[in-house]
Structure formats: C-alpha cells, structure tokens
C-alpha cells in the first residue's frame, strides 16, 4: 500500500525561519499557524527523510557512487597515470588505458558476482551468482532488522551485538546438543533468534521505560555483546573448544547445519531461503498487520499514535525485539551456514553495520531491502574477483558502499548534481 509511496515534503526543505513555518507557503501546504513545529523532533524527521525517500534516490546514489568508484580506479591505475603524462601528445593511449582499467574492474566484478563467462563448465559459470546470493542472505536479514526499526523511527546500530549474541547462542545449541536434525536445526535457529530479540529488546525497553536513546544503548550493547561472547569462548561449558587456545568454538554438528540448497558444489545454503521468507513476513507485518500499522504510526507521528491509544513504549520494545530477532537470524545464518566451522568473535563479518547501509538504500521497505541486499551481496562476491584478477583493492567495494550512504544522506547534494527540482512542493 505504501510500498513505493512518496512521503510528503518535509518541512525542513523550506527555508528554516519562523515565518516560513507559520502560515501556509502554498495552497497545498497550509502549515498551521500553531507552534507545532517546535514540538517536532527535528532529528526524527531528518532520519525519516533519509530512511524513507523514494526509490529513485537510491538508484541515483548507486549510480553516483559507481561513477566516483570509477574515477578512483582510474586514478590509482598505473597505466592510466603513465599515459596521462603524455595525454596531449597521444590522447588515444590515455583513453584506451582509462577504458581498460574501468571496464576491466567492472567486468571482473561481474564475473565474480553473476556469471563467469571465462570458464566453460555451466556449473562453474553460475557459481558466482550463488556466491552473491550467499552473501546477500545475511545482509537482507540484517537490513530488514535495521529497516523495521527505521519504520518506527528507531536507529538500530546494535546489529553487531545482536548478531554476536544470537550467533553464540545458536552455536552453543549447534555443537553442545545431540539431537536429530528435524529438532536440532530449528531449535538452534529459534534459540539464536530469541537471544537476538532479547538483545534488541533491552534497547527498546530502556527507551520505552527511561527514554534512553536507542543509538547510545545499542552501540554500548555491541561492546557488551562482544565481551560476553569473548567470555563464553573462554569457558568450556559455554563455547570454548577443549584443549584449544584460540577463541573459537568447535564446529557445528551436521544436524544443526543449514543444508546446502543447490547441492554440495555450491556454497549457497538454506539461510538465503530464510531471508526470502523473512522479506515476505516483514512485508506482511508492515503492510497488512495491525502491529505493522501501529509501528508505522509510531514512527511517523508518535504524538498522534499516543493520542490514539497506541502504547508507544510497548511498540518500541516490540519493534526492537523483532529487529533483534532478524539480526539474530543473520547471525544464525553465519554460524550455522556460511562459517559452520565454529563460533568466533568475527562471526558478524561487519554485516551488522553493512545492514544499516542496506536498509538505507532499500528505503526501509522490505522489497527495497531485498534489492539492496542482493546488490551488496554482488559487490562483496565480485570484490574478491576484482582484487584477484585486476589487482584492485577489495576496499574499493567498501568505498562504494560508503559513498552510497553519503549520497543518500545528502538529498540536496543529489538534487544539485542531477538538477532535480527541490522537493518543497511536489
């Protein structure tokens, strides 16, 4: 219903003055002559604008980031630099080198993320795509967790902690218990999600009861979660491998490992299917359930929600629990699927933070997050090939991701670059 709906122009787009907000600036925007705006939380409306703009902004941000990435590839390429020194004498050399550097990088990325046209065996040709999907799974799950919180105007930066705690808990079930697969795997997944929900719920509950800002609390809980897992990895009754000095748990039992979905030759496991299911479930919750309706109401206008009998605090707690369980599922995906060789402190693989980018790029909408997660999965998968075959640092992928966020966070900059009309009266 509101899946692709545009949001109304934020008042902040008008010149920020007392008079601009007093009586209507245009017949379509008859802002009331009330001091309402002073009560409006400015940071919240800013967050809303960044997290829920239209899809076009996302596409343009990706486009811009890729362009800047190209410039960086060119600028750091030896041949390009050499040919640039005699560009006036033989410009064709320079442009050929430029083309080869950039097209080489992006075609390597394509080969590494979607379809490898250099090898001949069909299974090997399509292998990159399955890698992309494997990487995309936890990014989508994490993105849903962050994006759902965004919809309630909560900024969940605690993805890392939620993933670590959930991964640790799922890992414990995964190697300490001996159960048939039909019980073991679901139990491990559920326990992981439950601990994720708990870890996210703490932040929600503290906000609801004491007004503690969820950004601060979730950041701090990241540290608490990290050291809790560290502690668990030193105790044999928890996660420590007997006789080992490394902070790493034993590998998961087969009965608790997410099965490979396309046969043993591909690494793609059930985690990606769970991510797709999560997309559908979150979509339904947000757009078709009363809970989602209340979450959106609280996110869009907590004052009106409260005046309408909605318990805002309880909604915050519930949202953070669901968000935590989704990030928990991302952690479970790592421990029981991608890295089933054992729980370690880096099991989150920075997904907890990448999820924020995914949610932003996906405009906090489940289908947008699915698309953004796939894109980031492809960047991750392709980045390795790019480094191997073109000798371009895999960090470029990180730079491109960061640039996407930067462009998304600065709508006026994007508007200026693409000469879009200001949003003041759509």
């Amino acid at each position: 219903m509101t899946e692709t709906g545009n949001h109304p122009p934020a008042k902040d787009d008008e010149p920020v003055t007392g008079t601009a907000t007093s009586t209507g600036a245009s017949p379509l925007d008859p802002a009331d002559p009330d001091p309402a705006d002073s009560r409006n939380d400015r940071s919240r409306s800013m967050l809303r604008e960044i997290a829920s703009g239209d899809a076009m902004a996302g596409v343009l941000a990706v486009f811009l980031a890729v362009f800047v990435g190209s410039v960086m590839i060119a600028a750091t390429d030896e041949t390009v630099r050499e040919t640039a020194s005699y560009i006036t004498a033989r410009p064709s050399d320079f442009f050929t080198a430029l083309w080869e550097a950039i097209s080489g990088a992006y075609s390597a990325m394509f080969r590494g993320s979607i379809f490898n046209y250099i090898v001949t065996e069909p299974a090997q040709q399509w292998r990159p795509l399955t890698e992309t999907l494997k990487f995309a799974g936890p990014l989508i799950l994490g993105g849903l967790g962050v994006g759902l919180a965004f919809r309630a105007a909560l900024f969940n930066i605690g993805g890392r902690g939620q993933m670590l705690i959930a991964g640790g808990a799922a890992g414990w079930v995964g190697f300490q218990l001996d159960l048939p697969m039909i019980v073991h795997l679901p139990l491990a997944i559920l326990v992981g999600m439950l601990f994720g929900a708990l870890w996210g719920g703490i932040a929600g509950l503290l906000k609801a009861r004491t007004g503690a800002h969820e950004v601060i609390v979730t950041i701090m809980l990241n540290y608490v979660g990290y050291y809790l897992l560290f502690y668990a990895l030193t105790k044999e009754w928890l996660l420590k491998t007997p006789g080992s000095v490394n902070p790493k748990s034993p590998p998961m039992k087969d009965s608790a490992t997410l099965p490979k979905v396309l046969g043993e030759q591909f690494n793609l496991h059930l985690g990606f299917v769970l991510a797709l299911v999560a997309v559908a479930v979150v979509w339904w919750v947000l757009n078709r359930s009363t809970l989602g309706y209340r979450i959106r109401a609280v996110g869009e206008n907590p004052h009106a929600a409260r005046a309408s009998g909605i318990n805002v605090g309880r909604t915050y707690t519930v949202v953070m629990m669901i968000a935590g369980s989704l990030l928990g599922l991302a952690g479970v995906n790592q421990v029981l699927g991608t890295v089933s060789s054992g729980v370690s402190l880096d099991l989150d693989a920075s997904i907890g933070f990448d999820a924020i980018t995914v949610a932003l790029l996906g405009r906090s909408r489940p289908l947008g997050i699915l698309a953004a997660g796939l894109l980031f999965g492809a960047l991750k998968a392709g980045g390795f090939t790019m480094q191997a075959s073109e000798n371009i640092s895999v960090d470029l992928v990180l730079v491109v991701q960061s640039l996407i966020v930067l462009f998304l966070a600065a709508p006026p900059l994007m508007r200026a670059i693409f000469r879009l009309p200001a949003q003041e009266a759509k």
Binding site: T2, S26, L28, P30, P33, R288, L291, N301, G309, E424
Partner: protein, 507 residues
C-alpha cells in the same frame, strides 16, 4: 514610506503561491491583507521581507526598486516585521532583545546596553507602551512581548510595519490595545500591513482592505462592508457565519468532573481544582487565553497526562487512571487542539488516518491483520459524507489543506459510537467554509444527545457553539456563565477578574 508591490509571482514547483499580486501601501495607512489560511498572504510578506525571492515582479519603496537578498536588506530599507511567533529570547531582558542583531558596541566589543535601554525607554514613552527595558522577556505577558517586537522594529527606524496574524495569541483586551497601538503608529506616519483572517479586527482598524484568495488579489473591500460580504469575498462563495442551533434538549448529568488537578512534566500545577458537569445533549464551551490549562484539561480527560488527581466520571465510570486506549474505547471522541501533532499521521493516507484509534478492535481488524477492503469502503463513504476535498482516499493526509485535514479528524471521531466529544480548537487554522461545516457537525452531535466539551481561544467560536461557557484562568474556573454573557464580561473574566454581580449557572 510608500510601498508598491508590482506583479509579484512566487511559485513552489508547480504550485503558484502568489500569482501576479500588486499592492500599494501609503504612509499613514493601515492596509489589511485579508485571506484564508494558505491564500498566500504570508508568502507575499516573506517575499517582501527578503525570505523568499519572487519569480516575477518587483518591490518598490518610495519609488526605488529594491532587490532584497535577505531580511537584513529589508530591515535596512525600513521594513519591520512583527511575527506571529515572537522572535525573542525569553531569558534576555527587553533591552537585550531589542539590540539583538543590531548591537552597538563600545571599546573592545563591549555591549552598549545603556544606549539600548535609552532607546527602549524613548520608544516606549513615545507610544505609551509601558515596557521596562530591564524586564526579562519570559516574565512579560504575551501582549507586552508583542510590544517588545514592535519596539524592536521601531528601534531600527522601520517606516513600514508588517503584522502577521498578530492577534492569534492575544486576549480580547490585548487585541484592543494592539489596535490602539496600530492607530498611533499610523498617526505617526508609519505604513502598516496587517495580515489576518479575522473579520472583526479588519473592520475595526483597516483603512483599506485587499482580499487574497488562492494566491490572487480578488479585489479591494470597503472597511464598512459587512462580515458576510467580507467572508464571501475571502471564500469565493456565500457563507453562513452564524451557527444555527435550537435550544438544547438536556438529559442527565453525563460527565462529572470533580476537583481535577493536573501537574505537568515541569512540575507546574496546570489545572488547579476544576469541577464542572456536562449534561447529555449540552455543549460546554471552555473560554480562556491559550495556556491557562485548557490543553492539560483535555489531555487529562483522554488519559494523556501522567500526574492527574481528582475524578472524571463519564456515565458513572471513573476515567482517571485509565489508559488512553480504554478511554477511547469507552466512547470518548477527541479532536485534539493541534491536528498535525496529535490528530493525524501526515505520512499516512486518508484511509489509514481514519482508523488511527481503531487499530485494536474494530471493523477494520481481524485476527491481527488489517481488513483493507472494509477500511477502503468506509473511507470512501466518509470522504463523501464529510466533503473532504482530496484526490482520493489514498492521498496523504499531510498534503491536504488544514480544513480538509480537520474534516478527516472530525470524520474519524464522529464515526465512532460516542458518549462524549472533546473538541479542542476544532476550527483553528481552518478555512471559513470548513468552519461552517465542522460547527454544524458539532451541533448535530450535541443534538443527538451526546455531551460536548468545546475548548476554543476564539471567543466567537465559544459564543457560537456554547450552551454554557466556562472561563478558565491559570487552571482555575473563573465562572460558568450563560452563553449570552456579553463579550466584554467574558473578556474581563479571561484576565482572571470576576465581575461582582456574576452568578454561575448550574447545569
């Protein structure tokens, strides 16, 4: 100073807020800009003040074309603006506020406060403002704060003064005083632009009236024209300004409030021992200047205040201590005073807003999922019934005009099974046409036997709707009087004075 605006056009995207507006203001003249909210009055003044740049047209002061790039230029050229929301710093003194942005400094950058003090005293004496330069602004009544704004403009040698909806925050007495000040300024040869949508004030002071509708000048009006004529010009069709209602058919006591006390988050006693009763089929209107406990009273009725003591009994059921949800479910309809904060979710569609307080148990909910079909059908019906002017039920509430937003709120509340209606500022910032409609709905609600509490800072509205009037001052009841009490008496009561011969009317 003579101001000429010639063909001012200002567009926001595809929306034309000002369409080739031309206007002349002579020195020693009070020129009224009359128009509904959103007609483009404020946009025009923001263009004049350098806040917006006009797409077309020019501004001429004393025959010279001006090119303002910001308010600084406008001020330097002799234009002063008295904003609706005061641009004062509460913890500064009057003198400090007046010099702010225009500080005279002495050796080493020290502030020359004495000069500012003298300036305040001089202007204050000249116009009889009675403002002390060393008073803290936060300690001053609203009407005096407004005079500080005027002093501020005059201290910069403003020859043209713009008053943007200046009376919205004033008591009737303060309004009268402001009118007197405006006349004095006129005598002193200042040119005055007075922006308002209140007809009574226009007729009291205007020398000339320019009516603006939908961004265009629709014509000049004679200050002697009747209210109905002016309103029709503003709206563009004949309007009914009087609310027609029959004598109330009173039932039993429905809402009984006893010794209600509300302490706000800052620890201030905002409602201080209120007791009143509303009978079924009766409108009790609460009059008072904004900020005398009305907001806290309505919020306490809805369970939105935390620190409430006393008792609120509706049809024999105690409401104090119940959750907002329980109170709403027990049949209390609530039109909040600020629809954009408490009444609507701007990013939601009209349909979504219509189920805002019915997301738990209602025809639109089944087993935790939304019944979108039922909701759409309902919304379609209400859109038509309440004459909400929108493209369709999927239009975002935030894109509607104030009047249409309010109609959505009213439609939502009146569509429920009510046992009490609490309407706070039901027509604030609403166009004349919608006011008429909303007032009719409130009267119809009362006629169906539902007790109604109306809170309004507009005396006209209070008098039009009330069966009895309760005047509040500093959280206490000054008196509960009949609806035909003279306006002067009500105005006096709003300042906390209780006339000697006043008799309260029991319900």
């Amino acid at each position: 100073m003579r101001l000429v605006l010639r063909g001012i056009t200002k567009r926001f995207g595809s929306v034309v807020a000002n369409d080739s507006i031309s206007l002349t203001v002579e020195p020693g003249e009070i020129h009224c800009l009359l128009g509904e909210n959103g007609a483009g009055k404020s946009t025009l003044m923001n263009v004049l003040y350098g806040l917006y740049k006009a797409d077309e047209g020019e501004i001429e002061l004393d025959g010279e074309v001006q090119h303002f790039t910001g308010p600084g230029d406008a001020m330097a050229a002799g234009i002063g603006m008295v904003h609706q929301h005061f641009m004062l710093i509460p913890v500064f003194t009057v003198a400090e506020n007046v010099m702010l942005g225009n500080e005279t400094t002495g050796f080493g950058g020290t502030l020359d406060l004495d000069a500012a003090r003298d300036r305040v005293t001089e202007i204050s004496e000249r116009f009889g403002f009675h403002v002390k330069p060393d008073a803290l602004v936060e300690d001053l009544p609203v009407g005096v704060q407004q005079r500080v704004e005027i002093i501020k403009a005059l201290s910069r040698d403003a020859e043209l003064l713009v008053f943007d909806e200046p009376t919205a925050v004033l008591t009737p007495q303060e309004t009268d005083e402001l009118m007197e000040i405006m006349r004095q300024l006129k005598e002193a040869g200042k040119a005055i632009v007075f922006i308002t949508h209140k007809l009574r004030e226009v007729r009291a002071v205007a020398d000339r009236i320019t009516v603006i509708r939908l961004g265009r000048v629709v014509g000049e009006a004679d200050p002697k024209a009747s209210n109905t004529e002016l309103a029709s010009m503003m709206v563009g069709r004949p309007v009914e300004l009087v609310v027609h209602k029959d004598a109330p058919t009173l039932g039993d006591d429905a809402l009984v409030v006893k010794d209600l006390r509300v302490v706000d988050l800052a620890g201030h006693q905002q409602v201080d021992g209120l007791s009143f009763t509303i009978r079924a089929g009766e409108v009790l209107a609460v009059a008072g200047v904004q900020g005398n406990g009305q907001t806290e009273l309505t919020e306490a009725l809805l369970g939105l205040q935390d620190d409430v003591s006393g008792s609120i009994v509706l049809d024999g059921v105690e409401l104090v201590g119940k959750s907002t949800r329980a109170i709403l479910d027990s049949g209390v309809g609530f039109i909040p005073e600020d629809r954009q904060v408490d009444g609507l979710v701007p990013g939601f569609t009209i349909a979504e807003n219509l189920m805002l307080n019915r997301s738990f148990k209602s025809p639109f909910v089944k087993n935790g999922s939304l019944r979108l079909g039922a909701l759409r059908e309902f919304a379609q019906k209400k859109l038509h019934e309440y004459d909400v002017r929108a493209r369709d039920i999927d239009s975002l509430a935030g894109n509607l005009s104030g009047g249409n937003q309010q109609k959505v709120v009213v439609a939502r509340e009146l569509s429920r099974d009510l046992r009490l209606l609490v309407a706070a500022q039901p027509t604030r910032g609403v166009d004349v046409g919608s006011i008429e409609f909303i007032h009719k709905q409130i009267v119809a609600t009362r006629d169906s036997g539902i007790p109604v509490l109306v809170v309004s800072t507009e005396l006209d509205e209070v008098v039009a709707l009330a069966d009895r009037i309760m005047v509040l001052y500093r959280g206490r009841v000054v008196g509960i009087v009949p609806a035909d009490t003279p306006r002067e008496t009500l105005g006096l009561m709003m300042t906390g004075e209780r006339p000697q011969d006043l008799k309260d009317v029991a319900s």
